[in-house]
């Protein structure tokens, strides 16, 4: 079927099977390999992207349901002016505040969960999420990380969130 949607602000038009996963369309048809596949069944969150304003697992979204909507991926996080320079070695300054916070706190280790983690965090922040530890942990509970123990990820998100109650887990 013919589908049209916006990816990171740019219009895309494709002729693909309607049940093709958004994840495969991004990675294979559009070459946006920043979105990762960790399990293919909505358990790990590595393929998280923002569909309209909600974080979703791209492995669970058939492309027929994306027609006419907007998708934001990790490639679309940094300011547009800085993008394009990030291929093969991103430059300092090409990161948004959240990415920079992850870099400085140590929120990314092996990096495979990082794009999805960033998208879940971005959706939380865009929704007005505060620097509240329990709320941040809830917001990223659908994103598994095996490297960090989550401590530094929570710290990174809190750093760019609205002031809240860090250190309070309800």
């Amino acid at each position: 079927m013919n589908v049209r949607f916006l990816v990171n602000g740019e219009p895309v038009e494709l002729d693909v099977p309607g049940m093709r996963r958004l994840l495969d369309v991004l990675r294979e048809d559009l070459g946006l390999s920043g979105t990762k596949e960790g399990c293919g069944e909505g358990e790990c969150g590595a393929c998280s992207v923002i569909l309209d304003s909600a974080v979703v697992d791209a492995c669970l979204v058939p492309i027929c349901q994306v027609d006419g909507h907007t998708v934001r991926t990790v490639e679309g996080l940094a300011p547009a002016a800085a993008r394009g320079r990030t291929r093969h070695g991103a430059e300092v300054g090409s990161l948004d505040d959240l990415q920079q916070a992850f870099l400085e706190t140590g929120g990314a280790q092996c990096g495979i969960c990082t794009p999805g983690m960033l998208m879940a965090a971005r959706a939380y922040l865009d929704d007005g999420g505060a620097a509240d530890e329990e709320a941040i942990r809830t917001a990223i509970a659908g994103n598994l990380c095996r490297c960090t123990g989550y401590t530094k990820i929570v710290e990174a998100i809190a750093r760019v969130a609205n002031p809240g109650s860090m250190g309070d887990r309800g």
Binding site: L32, T35, G38, A90, T114, I136, I140, K152
Partner: protein, 765 residues
């Protein structure tokens, strides 16, 4: 460009690429014209392979390539310690586990591949499988350590306590699955690109099975999304599979495991059964330790003897005991092979040793902190291998730091009072269908651990790793090692260490890709050895380069940082290779297992606080204080990251992570059924880094990766006991096991961890 610094510390070198999606993991690599590969696996735990058949319907087999054992140009072995594991089971050969590779398929698209795979039938003669490690007669390795006089020790003891502890399989669960792409070379060789820890393991395996030389076998690491040991030995198998298909197709072949295949087929942490008999004096002083360790290696040897060796040496825990016997064996069962996983045999035995120590404290009526103060290793003590601990012993230091930061004594008094108050109503009433008064109980627990730094025994000497530093004519400095980055920070700390040794900014030091065509064999990226051993070699190489440049005429008395560009322009490229030299005064006899098992040990203490829901026995690990002695902290942020991540893996091991098996097959081989902690399940972790430097390493570092994995599980189990009054001897300490310990009700307790049950249907004819 490098990402710069924050608060004076270099930021993760590849961080920006990972944070923008630019980093290329194996499945992100594009090879035009590549085919997709798949593995045909056995579906029986043990059988004779009679034939590999293709269904005779109208399927067009010319569209696919089928590879069997008969197509292997070299030896049909995945070369490692023992030559027992075939690349593919040959016709006539024995299938030894449910997920064993039997044939390979490749096709230009995944739909065709799927169709082809459905049409392969294995003809087999079933054989009787062995699942119980205690009944297995196939022994991969065994050890016995003896010190002092055990009989005399027990005769002297006031209290003798016995205990049996069992732990199951744990899945590494790197979030990036196993992935390898093989590309045929014009010279008839193969280049593989993949997610891996040890380029030269794969290189060796390819040379052997594919009959290739050093050049025609090439291994290139792509960005690697976690390893934890799971990408130590298994990638050799996957690389051979991809390579065999690529040789046959004459085009690139992608072998990317989905999560289901990854969990079903790849290695796990070894299950173990550990039995302790311990004699203590009334004041808590250890006088005798008798320990038996049985590990289940699964169907093939893999790294099992080395895992068992580390498990044996660590089995007594970080305590001096005059009289010790440790007997261990690792056996075969018809289950998928077990292999490397962070901690490498130590987490299993240290869970047992620490739980035993906590039970001893309870039996003697002294505090868990006090019994450790009495017995923890100090300088000059002798270990079960009769190694004298001459330096860098920080057991007491980490213990006091962790206990102090966690306010262990004070909180334990509080939980004890609460437990006494609850005792009136009983933690679980009769009938067990009814709840008691309070719904929640809190507990605090403590554990202490040691972890031998680097390879066991003469491992490093035999390995003779090389690390290199290159200064080219344009004045570019580059690190050349085979040490891989998989999240732990190799790519950041190597330039940092070299920069510090040369007196230049870390940003001025480049790092070569992990490609066997360019980098020397600096050994595998395992055993927490990278920062200590390879980092140490690089510092030595840098010091040599620095003195050479600074002593030169061109330098004219200027420091390296000001002189090296001029020097390089005048002298042309210079490469310094540094080969591992034995640490002075460190010796080990591999035959008798006597001597310095490790050049030094790292030390870790952990205090865990839990809340237990008394209705459901659900456990929340709320807070953890982790004090880890790493010798020298190179990069505080990365180092803390290792402790936090390792601690959470250990908390998962303690509470929820367990593979369940029926007929030798993993039942929970999906992410919906094998669960690891989410951010909501993770405790708040307070990391305390302690530095007791090791003099053999120029920077004093002893490694950090595995330490936290050894210590958190027994701390959590002790905290569960503090909350509920029951000791859980089997990991994970699930709500089912806790409730079973609290009640006499039927059918509550699950089967023991690590042992496959049998389905009602007979599996053998």
């Amino acid at each position: 460009m490098t990402p710069g610094r924050a608060r004076g510390i270099p930021l993760r070198r590849e961080g920006p690429d990972k944070l923008t999606g630019a980093a290329k993991y194996a499945d992100d690599l594009v090879f035009p014209g590549a085919w997709y590969g798949a593995t045909v696996r056995s579906t029986e735990p043990r059988a004779r392979l009679v034939a590999i058949d293709r269904t005779d319907d109208a399927f067009d087999w010319t569209k696919v390539v089928l590879v069997t054992a008969a197509d292997i140009p070299g030896d049909n072995v995945v070369s490692l310690i023992s030559d027992d594991q075939p690349v593919l089971v040959p016709v006539g050969g024995e299938i030894r586990h449910q997920a064993e590779p039997v044939a390979l398929l490749a096709a230009s698209d995944r739909a065709t591949l799927r169709e082809a795979k459905r049409r392969i039938r294995l003809r087999t003669q079933p054989l009787e499988p062995v699942f119980d490690p205690l009944a297995s007669e196939t022994v991969f390795a065994h050890f016995e350590l003896t010190k002092g006089d055990l009989g005399a020790g027990f005769a002297e003891a006031d209290v003798v306590l016995e205990g049996t502890y069992r732990v199951g399989h744990q899945e590494q669960l790197y979030i990036e699955g196993q992935a390898m792409i093989a590309v045929p070379r014009e010279d008839g060789g193969i280049t593989v690109h993949g997610s891996l820890q040890c380029p030269y393991y794969i290189h060796g395996a390819m040379k052997r099975a594919l009959r290739l030389d050093d050049v025609r076998a090439q291994v290139v690491q792509s960005e690697t999304g976690g390893g934890f040991g799971g990408k130590e030995e298994y990638p050799s198998m996957l690389a051979l599979h991809a390579a065999l298909l690529a040789l046959r197709c004459r085009r690139p072949v992608r072998m990317i495991y989905d999560r289901h295949e990854d969990i079903a087929a790849t290695t796990k942490r070894h299950p173990a059964i550990v039995t302790h008999r311990t004699g203590v004096k009334r004041d808590g002083t250890l006088v005798a330790q008798e320990i038996d360790v049985v590990m289940d290696g699964g169907a093939y040897c893999t790294l099992t003897p080395v895992v068992l060796s580390r498990g044996t040496i660590h089995a007594g825990g970080p305590y001096r005991s005059p009289n010790v016997v440790i007997r261990s064996r690792a056996v075969a069962t018809n289950t998928p092979p077990n292999g490397a996983f962070r901690g490498f045999g130590a987490p299993q035995v240290e869970f047992a040793a620490e739980t035993q120590m906590n039970r001893l404290a309870e039996a003697l009526g002294i505090s868990p902190l006090e019994i450790r103060r009495r017995n923890a290793y100090r300088l000059g003590d002798e270990t079960p291998t009769r190694q004298i601990l001459r330096e860098s012993v920080a057991a007491e230091d980490v213990l006091e730091r962790a206990a102090g930061a966690a306010e262990f004594d004070w909180i334990r008094e509080r939980t004890a009072r609460a437990r006494a108050e609850r005792a009136g109503s009983g933690t679980v009433r009769t009938p067990a269908t009814s709840t008691s008064g309070p719904r929640k109980a809190s507990g605090i627990g403590l554990a202490l651990a040691w972890h031998g730094a680097g390879f066991t025994g003469s491992g490093e000497v035999q390995l003779a790793s090389v690390a290199s530093l290159e200064l080219d004519a344009d004045g570019r400095i580059q690190v050349l090692t085979a040490s891989t980055e998989m999240g732990q920070g190799t790519r950041t700390i190597f330039p940092q260490l070299v920069g510090e040794a040369l007196g230049v900014d870390a940003d001025a030091v480049g790092i070569a890709p992990q490609d066997t065509a360019f980098v020397p064999d600096s050994g595998p990226t395992v055993a927490s050895r990278t920062a200590m051993v390879v980092g140490g070699l690089l510092i030595k190489a840098a010091r040599r380069l620095r003195s050479e440049v600074e002593a030169s005429r061109e330098a004219a008395g200027r420091p390296f940082a000001e002189a090296y560009r001029t020097w390089a322009a005048a002298h042309g490229p210079r490469r310094v290779d540094e080969r591992f030299e034995p640490y002075p005064g460190v010796g080990f006899d591999d035959e008798t297992y006597v001597g310095d098992a490790y050049p030094a040990f790292g030390w870790a203490a952990c205090v865990a606080e839990v809340d237990v829901d008394l209705d459901t026995c659900e456990v929340t690990v709320r807070d953890v204080v982790a004090a880890d002695d790493v010798g020298h902290v190179i990069h505080p942020v990365l180092c803390e990251g290792q402790v936090e991540g390792g601690t959470l893996q250990a908390v998962g091991y303690a509470t929820i992570e367990e593979m369940k098996l029926v007929d030798g097959r993993y039942l929970n081989d999906r992410l919906a059924t094998y669960l690891i902690p989410t951010a909501l399940d993770a405790p708040r972790i307070n990391t305390i880094l302690v530095e007791a430097p090791f003099s053999g390493a120029p920077h004093g570092a002893k490694g950090v990766g595995e330490l936290p994995m050894d210590v958190a599980a027994p701390a959590v189990v002790a905290a569960i006991h503090d909350a509920t009054g029951v000791w859980i001897h089997d990991l994970p300490a699930t709500p089912e096991r806790i409730l079973a310990a609290l009640t006499a009700a039927e059918d509550v307790e699950p089967s023991p961890p690590g042992v496959s049950s049998r389905s009602a249907r007979p599996t053998a004819a």
